[in-house]
């Protein structure tokens, strides 16, 4: 339904040459660290921000030069932007009143929306007297009554506390499925991105990094940035050299499946990406399968009941250390030293300061080219769309706000 190609720049390219095709009825997520241009992109869709070049298409209509009111889109703002001088009823009715709907139609639609959002008993109150979650629902009500072509959400949950956020997330998802309306949702929270989205577009400094389903993003990240951004705790990045089918990590060698090893043949020093859950305490792992084991000293252990996080510090060679630090900055992180985070079974008895035997699943390892950040072992069939050289391009952009 929407086919967007656009460039934006006032000397400051906040969004650079992004093309996203949102299907009818799809729940599209724009995600990225702060300053990646996702909000700017959303505001360009709704028409609050000018488009420097490129075409914004809704259906087969080019809407670049249309005023926001002519685009028939509904938006929920980060701070809700409710009208404090109007009651909840009038807040929801506002778009209908502007459209000169009859009183009877206004009443019917507002009551419908209020019923959907369970706001009926609050209709006569002013927004100032509502809780955060209720205000959020009023803002959504105002969007629903429009019967707009698409919903746009700008970090709608970032002002709520953690518990409410979880509830509202489910609520939004349910609402979207029931109304079947095309939705574009901006967030910096990867949990929201993974749980809500049909497809997720990962942005970095105004450049699209990967556009894929949440599962594809997780299992087949297109480059270092996506790999590091998606997943919590984040993927571990280790320097590695591949010789034959064995990958030499700082802790020892790990056997790779031959097809993965072939892709890394003769590339010299690479970056290996392994998710924490692909490690295990060798002593509780009964079926060792294709994995390899290594011994390492565990620095800190965090036992969470169902699982255990163990932290293993390592020294990175200077060639990759810079790259790792840069990546950390891009992800808004503040890690002080290079360490391996491994997620172990809750039954693991490894204690802090002990040397432990750790098992790792080599078949799940990703290999990245440290210079370009590209994932060499990506399964392109199941990775959605990965624009070429996305990371290098993003690197060339000045850091932007927004």
């Amino acid at each position: 339904m929407v086919n967007i190609v656009k460039q934006y720049g006032d000397g400051f390219p906040a969004v650079n040459d992004v093309s996203i095709d949102v299907q009818d009825g799809e729940f599209m997520i724009l995600v990225g660290p702060s300053g990646c241009g996702k909000s700017t992109l959303l505001r360009m869709i709704v028409g609050l921000e000018d488009i420097t070049s490129g075409d914004m298409m809704i259906g087969d209509r080019r809407v670049n030069d249309l005023a926001p009111r002519d685009r028939n889109l509904a938006m929920v703002f980060q701070n809700y932007a409710l009208y404090p001088h109007l009651t909840v009823y009038e807040n929801i009715a506002f778009p209908l009143r502007l459209a000169k709907a009859s009183d009877e139609e206004v009443d019917r639609k507002v009551r419908d929306a209020a019923k959907t959002l369970e706001l009926e008993e609050h209709l006569e109150r002013k927004p100032g007297n509502l809780s955060g979650g209720q205000r959020q629902r009023v803002a959504m009500g105002r969007a629903i009554v429009r019967e707009a072509d698409a919903f746009l959400f700008d970090e709608p949950l970032s002002n709520l506390d953690a518990k409410l956020r979880g509830q509202m997330r489910t609520e939004i998802s349910r609402l979207q499925k029931r109304l079947g309306i095309t939705t574009v949702y901006v967030t910096h929270d990867q949990t929201e991105a993974m749980t809500l989205g049909d497809r997720v577009a990962v942005l970095k400094r105004g450049v699209l990094q990967q556009l894929a389903t949440p599962r594809e993003l997780y299992e087949n990240p297109g480059n270092l940035f996506v790999a590091g951004f998606i997943g919590s705790p984040p993927m571990n990045f280790l320097p590695v050299t591949v010789e034959g089918t064995s990958a030499k990590l700082p802790f020892g060698s790990v056997e790779l499946p031959p097809e993965k090893a072939a892709k890394a043949e003769g590339k010299g020093l690479l970056m290996a990406g392994i998710r924490p859950e692909h490690f295990e305490d060798a002593s509780v792992k009964s079926d060792r399968g294709a994995g390899s084991t290594f011994r390492a000293r565990v620095d800190v252990v965090e036992w969470l009941g169902n699982e255990t996080y163990a932290y293993i510090p390592f020294e990175a060679p200077p060639e990759v250390e810079d790259q790792l630090r840069q990546l950390e900055r891009d992800l808004d992180g503040e890690a002080l030293h290079t360490q391996l985070v491994v997620s172990l079974d809750g039954a693991s008895r490894i204690r802090e300061g002990e040397e432990a035997e750790i098992w790792v699943d080599g078949s799940k390892m990703h290999l990245f080219d440290p210079a370009t950040g590209d994932n060499l072992t990506v399964d392109r069939e199941h990775a959605g769309r990965i624009p070429a050289h996305a990371m290098e391009e993003a690197q060339a952009q000045p850091a932007a706000a927004g």
């Binding site: 709704v46 028409g47 609050l48 005023a67 926001p68 009111r69 889109l73 509904a74 938006m75 703002f77 980060q78 701070n79 809700y80 932007a81 409710l82 009208y83 404090p84 001088h85 506002f94 778009p95 502007l98 459209a99 002013k126 927004p127 100032g128 007297n129 509502l130 955060g132 205000r135 105002r142 429009r146 002002n159």
Partner: protein
């Protein structure tokens, strides 16, 4: 010990209140009491605070009901004319000034344009300009333009002197309003004008009322221009008219009449403040965004 301190604080606070109240209200009470005294009492050498005999004669004279004191037959006509002029001029100046100031302040708060600082500093400079310095030139100018002794002749200078303050007040209020409000309205299908009228102006209402009241007070109380740019009761306002209440004896001004007139012109101001003080309460935007 703490209790004793608290009591002492309380007593001190109340003493402070009483001192300030007496300081502020004594002259007002004095004027009110004067307005109920007959000429015999005000002319006597040692006037007491409360009238010996209460009389409404001063009010009868200026408002023209009942029997009027001989020699004051025209006073009430002049006073009522002046009252009408005051109301008309102040109201029109207020409405126009608030409308212009709202539009100007909105532009200043929202738009980035060249010379924005210049406009603001110029407005401030005008506000600081002494009114007296303009009386001479305005007098000549108004006579040439046939604006002398007319309502517009007073409305125009009143507007120009109150606009700067109104613009400053209002632009501060507009800046406080989250821009998202307006964007939300636009996304909801409003034109810029609709967004301004239906969302921004209601939200800035406290500011609008503050500006309106300040403008009205200025125009209502203004004396220098009112006395210089008028010649008859066709446009003379109350403060100027009061200075013509001299009575038959130059050494014995009609204090009672003057006091009664002062009370009458103060009443509307008090009513306006009472009516609008609830509107002036800021914080109307609370609840608009995350609280």
């Amino acid at each position: 010990m703490a209790a004793a301190n608290a009591t002492r604080n309380k007593v001190g606070t109340w003493i402070g209140f009483v001192v300030i109240l007496v300081w502020c209200l004594l002259p007002v009470a004095w004027i009110v009491s004067l307005s109920f005294k007959g000429p015999g009492e005000t002319a006597s050498g040692s006037p007491q605070f409360l009238p010996k005999t209460w009389t409404l004669q001063n009010y009868r004279d200026i408002l023209g009901f009942g029997t009027v004191t001989p020699g004051q037959e025209n006073t009430h006509q002049d006073f009522l004319d002046a009252l009408r002029n005051s109301f008309g001029i102040a109201a029109i100046a207020t409405v126009l000034a608030v409308i212009f100031a709202t539009l100007a302040a909105y532009a200043i708060a929202r738009l980035e344009f060249k010379g924005k600082r210049l406009v603001l500093s110029l407005a401030l400079a005008i506000a600081m300009f002494p009114v007296v310095a303009l009386v001479g030139p305005l007098f000549d100018l108004w006579r040439t333009l046939h604006l002398f002794n007319t309502w517009p002749g007073l409305i125009i200078p009143y507007m120009s002197f109150t606009l700067p303050l109104a613009i400053w007040t209002l632009s501060a209020f507009f800046r406080e309003i989250p821009w998202e409000m307006e964007q939300a309205a636009q996304v909801d299908g409003a034109t810029s004008w609709q967004a301004f009228r239906k969302v921004i102006v209601p939200l800035a209402a406290p500011g609008v009322f503050t500006a309106a009241i300040l403008t009205f007070f200025f125009a209502w109380n203004e004396f220098v221009l009112a006395i210089s740019l008028t010649s008859t009761t066709a446009s003379r306002t109350v403060p100027a008219q009061l200075s013509f209440f001299v009575g038959p004896d130059p050494f014995n001004p009609p204090y009672g009449l003057l006091a009664a007139s002062s009370v009458v012109v103060t009443v509307p101001i008090i009513i306006i403040v009472l009516l609008f003080q609830r509107k002036i309460v800021a914080g109307l935007t609370s609840g608009a965004v995350k609280g």
